[in-house]
Symmetry: C2
Subunit: 235 residues, 2 copies
Amino acid sequence: MSIAKARPRVHKHALRTLAQRILTGEVAQGQTLLPESELCETLGIGRSSLREVMKVLVGKGLISSRPRAGTVVLSRDQWNILDPDLLNWSMELPPDPHFVMSLIEARQAIEPASARLAAMRASAADLAPVEAAYASMCINLKEKDFVAFNVADIDFHTALLRASKNVVFVQMSKTIGTALGYAFRMTIARSREPGGSLAMHGEVIAAILARDPALAQEAMTRLLNIAILDLGLSG
Amino acid sequence: MSIAKARPRVHKHALRTLAQRILTGEVAQGQTLLPESELCETLGIGRSSLREVMKVLVGKGLISSRPRAGTVVLSRDQWNILDPDLLNWSMELPPDPHFVMSLIEARQAIEPASARLAAMRASAADLAPVEAAYASMCINLKEKDFVAFNVADIDFHTALLRASKNVVFVQMSKTIGTALGYAFRMTIARSREPGGSLAMHGEVIAAILARDPALAQEAMTRLLNIAILDLGLSG
């Protein structure tokens, strides 16, 4: 009974461990993985669990398994880096500045477009979580609870992406939420006051409620420029 | 020997079959999958293969496996719809108009931003495949080989996304390439002449070569507006 319960956790641990060895480059691109028997031993799992782990990593574009060639680490541009699991595992590793900058540029493209779409078609029910997140940001800033403020800030941005009703942007909201959590941890470490962009968040909501797509897009563009300066990540 | 070779193919077939049953809603969101023994029989695979299939589908956000509850289909917003495998499997099914429209909106946000970044930092080597794709479009239009024209058109857009050197956009290039191939198949079915946007493709390249980020962004915006009209997908 207790073994049956423990098994999925062992699988997850082995999956993350092997994925992170690839993500860090400890096992380099183009390199062949160790033989099954050795991997089973180092990961502390059985052969059938190892095969399950391998299939999942194939499915995420990290490795490729061929009859004669063995299991090879694919090149970085074949990795599904937007896969929520891969992203979570990446975020536990030292930051890759190129990836961090890429995410910021992606936000600058996606979030203003998303604000525009939300102004065009979000219902009151879609906007309620955006407004709730903004209210929570206001309260937590006043109480100087910066951790709760940042949680509310992430909620604001991911709820707004969902309010776009665009399924691609909704999917990206997970990626952007994870990346934001990571960026905020870096900011808290430098203990800067995070309130510089609060008023702009209010302007984005006002433009959406006024059903002004162009203004909503523009307000979100300005908000992101401020937020990026706040994070000390520009340039 | 022949069994060992056939096995990965059987696994892939079972994986796609089960994924597509979920994608079409044949097994609905929130519903529990059939017991292992029945699934093995209907999919024609053994128990260990089925478990590998299940882990891959867990990894792509389609299902969740819990000790007591069994294996449940997750809600659509938890599916990793940008996963290249899921996207390929979706494209074999009848089109979901909401998803098609979402992809177009995503292109309108991502591709102009990508053209802007390419104008800022793409090297001659990054731009060579974009120029080669454009040359191929010109030749194939003249020869009225519309299938080859469309392949070159997809190459143009995906090479340009790669030339942005933004790893998020590079990742999205696979999604956008697949979606474009799908859209073109619909266009070919209507046998429309696809050359309406050719000159604009040239203008995008000219702006990038002139290192004019704002003009490159604007040209790509106009190109997409024309291309979407060409596809008969607007409105």
